[in-house]
Symmetry: C2
Subunit: 192 residues, 2 copies
DNA sequence: AGATTAGCGGAGGTGGTCCTCCGGTTCAAT
DNA sequence: ATTGAACCGGAGGACCACCTCCGCTAATCT
């Protein structure tokens, strides 16, 4: 099992074993994901508990601090990203990279949160997550560069910051977002 | 006098005539600019008053609601942008556009705020500001397109959203931000 | 200089969020 | 079915931001 699963293992370890407790844990995670997507990283914790149909005490038992909760949600998303990278690795170099990046954009929750996570103070979990994202994307980038499809004067860090910037801006419709992302990616490709 | 000044006229009309009041007004605007840049659009109003060395009552007298204050700061910035557009209009097409966009990025305050202003509900002032920005940028874009320097399948709206996306992401250092911006702008240029 | 009045500023009421604590409830193991 | 432990949920105190209101201050005018 590759690196990418490490994060969710960390999550699974914290998931309670009793059935009702586990259900609440999942509900909280889902509600938090939703709330963070909507209001950014400082959504109201009491609102999250409400959405999850759970008392505020339960939230605090599972996630002693806002950061714990935030990290848990984030880790979940990042894990998926690793899985997608494996899935697309069969495609031609450029298509694989583009598909992965498009998926990167689609993470609605992470839309706002990823940005706030990249700035700000680092925690172990955030560092691990970022590393995991980089590990997932780097092979795709390197392959596209080796194939002469992507300019060689940029790093995975540059690439993800570029894309997450576009992700964090509001667009009236999805079509425009795709168009603008396409333009940015044209800058990433080598000139023919 | 072109369109761009309209916004600051609106501002000047609201500026008190008494000297101490005018000073407070300016201090509040400066403090707000700073606070919004730092904490985003929901910075604490009491903190802003404190920074300005002014009572909270004074803040509310000048700006009855947070939106009023926000709009005032925003209008100020946008106005400058119009002025810069006029300044660079002598440069060659591509250089003029690029210089203007780079200036666009530099507006630290607007960094976070512009993004939040572009989503969310529209107000008259925001619409006017956006329009003013578009009015300033459109001639530069059209000229660069006419000169065959910029792809013709994108609008000023696409362009500003692209750039403001990059603006809203945190970068470890200014150099990386410039590099990434350069890459995105390569996507904007026509292929030679 | 004195009167006038615009403007100041902060005390305090309101409401929302954070987080703790513990009496009651529900699960699971026997 | 019973029992013990794990878990639930929300009442409540601390805190902070918002915004109003009004007695006081100081700028402007004559």
């Amino acid at each position: 099992m590759p690196e990418q699963i490490v994060v969710s293992e960390f999550l699974a370890a914290r998931r309670p074993r009793r059935t009702d407790a586990a259900r609440n844990f999942d509900a909280l995670l889902a509600a938090a994901r939703e709330a963070f997507a909507e209001h950014g990283a400082d959504a109201s914790l009491e609102d999250i508990a409400r959405r999850a149909g759970v008392g505020i005490g339960t939230l605090y038992r599972n996630f002693p601090t806002r950061r714990h909760l935030f990290e848990a949600v984030y880790a979940n998303e990042v894990d998926d990203l690793g899985r997608v990278a494996a899935e697309v690795s069969g495609e031609p170099p450029w298509e694989a990279l583009a598909a992965w990046l498009r998926r990167f954009v689609d993470y609605a929750m992470t839309k706002r949160a990823i940005r706030e996570a990249m700035e700000g103070e680092e925690s172990d979990v955030f560092l691990a997550c970022r590393q995991s994202m980089y590990d997932a994307g780097t092979p795709l980038l390197l392959r596209a560069q080796a194939a002469g499809e992507v300019r060689t004067d940029m790093s995975i860090d540059d690439l993800l910051r570029l894309v997450s910037g576009i992700t964090s801006v509001a667009f009236p419709d999805q079509g425009q977002r795709d168009r603008v992302l396409g333009i940015a990616l044209d800058g990433v490709r080598t000139r023919s």
